[in-house]
Symmetry: C2
Subunit: 222 residues, 2 copies
Amino acid sequence: MKSYPSPISVTVDAVIFTISDGTLKVLLVSRDEAPFKNKWSLPGGFIHSKETSLQAIKRILKAKAGIANIFTEQLYTFDDSNRDPRGHVITISYFAFVREDQIKFNKAKHPQSPTFFSVQKLPPMAFDHAKIVKYAIKRLQAKLEYTNIVYALLPKTFPFSQLQNIYEEVWNRKLDKRNFRKKFMSLKLIKPTRGLLEGSRQRPARLFQFINPNQQELKKFF
Amino acid sequence: MKSYPSPISVTVDAVIFTISDGTLKVLLVSRDEAPFKNKWSLPGGFIHSKETSLQAIKRILKAKAGIANIFTEQLYTFDDSNRDPRGHVITISYFAFVREDQIKFNKAKHPQSPTFFSVQKLPPMAFDHAKIVKYAIKRLQAKLEYTNIVYALLPKTFPFSQLQNIYEEVWNRKLDKRNFRKKFMSLKLIKPTRGLLEGSRQRPARLFQFINPNQQELKKFF
DNA sequence: CCAAAAGTGTTGACTGTACACCCATGT
DNA sequence: ACATGGGTGTACAGTCAACACTTTTGG
């Protein structure tokens, strides 16, 4: 048996999306070592020798931001020769979603200051992470159109306007209320509950929920 | 600066499609070393330390099958822990297209017997390559729908039926002649030439060509 | 003249889009 | 009473799917 030629360093990076304050945001952490020390970057790190890239992502997200049990999907493997000043380092990138209520950051446990940035106002980032985020947004926009991933961004019950807002934020354009409701309802993914959204100073909105309560996997609409 | 932890062996594999004898085929080579010696596998190999995965694919395809200058696109990175008996080996897979007339295999130059197999009659394959091929076919089916990649599978001029045949083969279903022609023509990608297809014993077919003669990149239809 | 593939239009169903007003509540 | 977002229906245009016959050539 031949020896294994040319070992290469392999990292993983995650583009974690959330919707908070009604806008689409991405999770960044402050790098605690060179290169790019103190620059914002996607949460990521080297793959350990006995784990898969998916296991590595889950380990790193838990350690750096206390995030667990979220939907993740492979995005792309970036290996441009100039992407890392340390040499030949490739990264397998993932994208994922969290709901606001799943997050609790903590200065002591998460010293790299995990912070959600609006995709409209991203800071300068380490490596080629700006490119990776851009690519992830494109993928997210496409997936929203033909799958039910929006599920991963919504709480158990939600008013219809919150659902529509996600589509508007991700696609970055306004949608017609009536047409959107008609189309989404025809997909038979959600149903009204008996609940109403209290506490606004307008007419209370009907709350909806997904019909399949443990709808974990991704389904195609068509 | 920290040392680079956990080097991992990284390979590339290519799923090369062609249409020949009117059917969709995939290129396989016979492995010339362990593991899986003499089994059919996707053409691939280890990435050298100074090259990107794309460069590696191009180098390997040229060496193993004499194929150069073809359209390639990254497919997925497979890294299941059990995919390679040698240990932790991940593979960045690519898919690509050749036209029949671009190929000339040669026993002396290409000792691994590169051979196109119909996707309907694939032999047992090494590693997880059957899974990779299956994934590539799905991607190809999707891409055919909303991009102009069919370009990469057609000669300079071609009868309309050859174009339709590609769609039928890849999607594995029959399409209505009239509807297909109407729809494809409305995309304004091809135009009729003055040429006719001679040599059949039926009515000669009009030959078409793509309007942009150097249409290398992938364009979306919509 | 026969076999074989080439070529051509119309209709009905469905889907997407544009568009404006009343409703229920809190202040 | 008013400000605010919640909630609803119709009409037109464009797209998709079903469907059958004539044309041109070689043998």
